[in-house]
C-alpha cells in the first residue's frame, strides 16, 4: 500500500495533499471548471463561452438527461452518474466521457437518501468497469473543512465497489490522462 499518493483532485480547492486541483470558476485552483445543472443544459454553449472553463461538468438527473449529457460534445464529465443503464455506459465509452464520483455528495446526504445514492453509485461503478468507462473520484470540497486526503478518496472508491488499484487510478492516472488530453499538463 502506497504511503504518498501522487493525486489530482478534479473538483476541489487548492491544498497540500494534491499535485493539481481543478476547481469551479471563482475558487482558488490550478485549473477552472464549470458545473452545468440539469435545468441549464440548453444554455450550455453560452455558459461555456462566458466562463471559458478548462473542464466542463454536468450534473446528472434522470435517464433522459444523462443521455443528453453523454451525447453532448461540450460536456467532459458526468457528475452524479446515476441512474445509468448498459446502453448509456456503452455510449459514454464511445463518446469518451468520464463519470465523476464526488465524496462531498455522499457525505452531505443523510439516512435513506444516502443509502440509495451509494447503492446507485455502486451499480454505476459495476457498469462502468464492465464497459470500460473512465471514472474519477473527486472531493468536491468548497472550503477547508471539506477537504479530503487522497487516501480518503481511495477509501470511498473501495467502499463503493472499486478494487484498491482501480480506486487509486481514479485519483491519479485517470485525471492525469484526462488533463493531458486537453493539453493542460
Amino acid at each position: 500500500m502506497l504511503r504518498k499518493y501522487s493525486a489530482i483532485d478534479l473538483r476541489g480547492i487548492r491544498n497540500d495533499h494534491y499535485d493539481h486541483v481543478v476547481g469551479l470558476v471563482g475558487d482558488d485552483c490550478d485549473f477552472t471548471a464549470v458545473m452545468i445543472m440539469p435545468d441549464h443544459l440548453r444554455g450550455i454553449k453560452d455558459i461555456i463561452s462566458n466562463k471559458r472553463p478548462d473542464v466542463v461538468f454536468a450534473q446528472g438527473k434522470d435517464l433522459s438527461t444523462n443521455r443528453k449529457i453523454i451525447e453532448s460534445s461540450e460536456v467532459d464529465i458526468l457528475s452524479r452518474p446515476y441512474p445509468i443503464d448498459d446502453t448509456l455506459a456503452k455510449m459514454a465509452q464511445r463518446n469518451d466521457k468520464c463519470f465523476e464520483i464526488c465524496a462531498r455528495d455522499i457525505i452531505r446526504l443523510k439516512g435513506y437518501i444516502k443509502a440509495r445514492a451509494m447503492q446507485s453509485l455502486a451499480k454505476t461503478i459495476e457498469l462502468a468497469v464492465k464497459r470500460d468507462v473512465r471514472i474519477v473520484i473527486t472531493s468536491g470540497a468548497r472550503d477547508r473543512l471539506e477537504v479530503l486526503t487522497p487516501r480518503e478518496l481511495v477509501a470511498f472508491g473501495v467502499v463503493l465497489g472499486f478494487e484498491y488499484t482501480r480506486a487509486k487510478g481514479a485519483i491519479s492516472n485517470v485525471p492525469r490522462a484526462f488533463l493531458s488530453e486537453r493539453g493542460l499538463l
Binding site: L145, R151, V158
Partner: protein
C-alpha cells in the same frame, strides 16, 4: 489473568493516523463517542463490531491521533470518520494521513 490467543489466530491490525481540523477542544471520551456513533450509523451494529475499532493514541493539544482497526475494515473506518462533519455543533474535518501495520512506522513518518 491476561487473555491470550495463539499468534497465528490473532487478527491482523492496521493503524490509521489522522489529524482533526476545526475549532474544537476534544477529549478522548468525546472522540471515542463520535467515532463509534459514526461507525454504528454507517456500518450498523454487526459491521461496527467486526471493525475492532480502538483509539490507540490521541494528542489533545496537537489534535492528532491513531486509531486501530482490523485489516479488512480500514476503508470502512476511514469513510465512517469522514461522515463526522460536526461534533457538539462545531464543524470538524478528520484528515487521514497514513495507514500502517505498526505504530512505530507511523510515528517515524
Amino acid at each position: 489473568m491476561k487473555y491470550k490467543m495463539p499468534k497465528s489466530m490473532r487478527d491482523k491490525r492496521r493503524y490509521i493516523k489522522f489529524s482533526l481540523d476545526g475549532d474544537i477542544d476534544l477529549s478522548e471520551e468525546d472522540l471515542r463517542r463520535a467515532l463509534w456513533d459514526s461507525a454504528l450509523k454507517f456500518l450498523g451494529v454487526k459491521g461496527a463490531s467486526g471493525t475492532h475499532l480502538w483509539i490507540s493514541l490521541w494528542d489533545r493539544e496537537e489534535k492528532t491521533g491513531i486509531v486501530r482497526c482490523s485489516i479488512g475494515s480500514v476503508d470502512d473506518i476511514i469513510v465512517s470518520m469522514k461522515m463526522i462533519t460536526e461534533i457538539h455543533g462545531e464543524r470538524v474535518n478528520f484528515l487521514v494521513s497514513d495507514v500502517s501495520g505498526t505504530i512505530k512506522s507511523l510515528e517515524s513518518q
